[in-house]
Subunit: 366 residues, 2 copies
């Protein structure tokens, strides 16, 4: 199918993606935990089906629009893992009348508003901050948790499902084990405090680095990672996976080759890959790693590395190895493994398998 | 119309946008130059109409898909300012049979291929590199230019229109005047060399910082900037414009306020703003500047600055001034002036005027 590709196209290797999903599901099962994957990375019904085939029944999304995209497809519950946006209460009520949903709460103000206006049954998790600092109730502040619970209780349609932590600082540390222990302790402490009054509550943790690297999750009940379905070059750097585990690659046409400069110009820039960037040891930028595309077969990781050293809106410039310069001509396609697959998938909004099958992606679901 | 906004929405201030277009058109006219604006920023038929109203007849785009979006709307020529991608020759031929197009060439290999396969009349510019280093024929290498021209001449449908420079290094310098002089000299030298044989050729230059800051363009014939229609915080930093000239703002709902931390959490992240970033003097990141939104009126630039200090996929965290913290509540909307408006517009793919009118944006035109 490669000969039919004329412009930047996001390829998905179904085998790699299914393997990533199976591995995480097996890891969860091994520890008696439930995997409730975050679909913000794939944003695809078909990838959702691949998850269902290994027993996944509940999913996570990051916006009401994304929940709407996934609703009425047989998911037992869709959890919207973003602090509830009170401006969306009417649209939420409408969707919650058709599909079982749960939301995330971080403050009593919003809780009160939802409790006042909620007209369909819905669950909620309280998001806890155990050290990341992005969002959530600091785990020691049980007074705020109590206020949230008191506000929620005023509406019998509203049910407390548990505590959620996204320890996003695991992306920026070498101490994933330490971050996990911090999160685990916070969740264990909170569950112990509230389980008597709310016997069905669960604890859930949601980052790909932790879920990939850790093997023992202690007493946490549920895992909610998303990026692991595709992985990316950032996750390789963290140690969550290897390059061979990355399930998506952007196919880009070569439009110019500058042999003396060791550079290749491709049609594929910031609007395709996103502007997410890593830094090489010498301080230069890396917007994605080059792979060779093979007709009807998996892409191939080169022996000599080449990578995207700069992007503008539609341009990408590859710092090319001698090997790459010898192998390619103007008009050829090469593949780029993304730095951050969630962003690249959201930019591209469509996938093709390496056998040419179209795979859906939600339109404007953010 | 603000009360109808429930999720991240890109607002456009028509008055500011029209003023930016008029100013640039007047500047071009004053010097007897032609303005051929780049539509990669706005990607909108309606903004195209606003340009037509001040006399614009020819436009620039950055991809064949974008050319297709703008075709058959009465543009005298649409120039695709990206090194021609030979995999698109069939689609190009089809579009060129309906709409007058010109393309950009940087090497003889692609020129030869196009000359062999071109079936409809089309123009071409040779892209010149006068120092930016991204793409284009280094201006001293007239042997390559001669090869391109010789290859193109084999097809009488193919006509040479001139030389194009995008001096993108003007984004990273304080010496815009120096860069302009470098580009102007290169273009003047090349025009002098080739005008006898090609008497209708023109020279065109295409960056917003230069076109905004410079007043005297010397003997350059045409201006081709794009970002100037919207401008953005990056352009303010360069000195191309003031904050009051930025024509788009992302409306985002406030979902949490942390008064003690001086932080506000909004629904609006990397998938809305893009990951383009500037650095504050203290080294912290800035993903966009906060403005106050006013019902049915222009947004208002706060006296005390607040800005987006971090983004993830859907989250934005505002470093909030005391003034901002006093003015807003959870559930309110605030506006974010983008760091890079081209990327934000491409992420959002739709605009609303401050009076609630929908303004189109091309879908997946990159």
């Amino acid at each position: 199918m490669l000969e039919t590709i004329t412009s930047p196209t996001l390829l998905i290797d179904e085998k790699i993606c299914r393997r990533n999903i199976s591995r995480m599901a097996e890891k969860a099962a091994k520890h008696g935990m439930e995997l409730i994957p975050h679909m913000k990375t794939a944003q695809s019904h078909i990838v959702g089906e691949w998850s269902r085939e290994v027993g996944i029944r509940e999913i996570t999304v990051s916006s009401l629009k994304m929940a709407s995209y996934f609703s009425n497809k047989g998911w037992s519950t869709i959890h919207i893992a973003f602090p509830f946006n009170p401006r969306e209460i009417n649209a939420f009520n409408e969707l919650a009348s058709q599909q079982k949903l749960s939301i995330q709460l971080v403050n009593p103000v919003v809780t009160q508003l939802v409790a006042e206006k909620l007209t369909s049954a819905a669950g909620f998790f309280i998001e806890i901050d155990a050290g990341y600092g992005r969002t959530g109730v600091p785990y020691q502040q049980t007074a705020i948790i109590d206020e949230i619970l008191a506000a929620a209780e005023k509406n019998p349609l509203f049910s407390f499902r548990g505590f959620y932590i996204h320890p996003g600082h695991s992306y920026y540390t070498k101490d994933i084990v330490g971050i996990y222990e911090e999160s685990r302790l916070a969740l264990a402490e909170l569950k112990a405090l509230y389980i008597a009054k709310y016997p069905t509550i669960k604890t859930r943790i949601g980052d790909t680095p932790g879920c990939s690297v850790m093997d023992d999750f202690g007493d946490i009940d549920q895992l909610g990672p998303g990026n692991f379905m595709f992985y990316d070059v950032t996750q390789v750097g963290i140690g969550s996976c290897s390059l061979a585990d990355i399930a998506v690659a952007l196919a880009v046409p070569i439009v110019d080759i500058q042999v003396e400069k060791g550079e290749i110009l491709v049609h594929g820039g910031g609007v395709h890959l996103s502007k997410d960037v890593l830094y090489e040891p010498d301080g230069s930028k890396n917007y994605g790693e080059v792979v060779y595309l093979r007709e009807g077969a998996a892409w191939e990781i080169p022996k000599q590395r080449s990578y995207v050293k700069s992007v503008s809106q539609e341009h990408g410039i590859i710092k090319a190895s001698d090997e790459l310069l010898q192998q390619v001509s103007v008009g050829d396609l090469i593949g780029i493994l993304p730095i951050h697959s969630c962003m690249t998938a959201d930019c591209m909004k469509s996938y093709y398998t390496i056998n040419g099958l179209h795979i859906d992606h939600a339109e404007g679901a953010s």
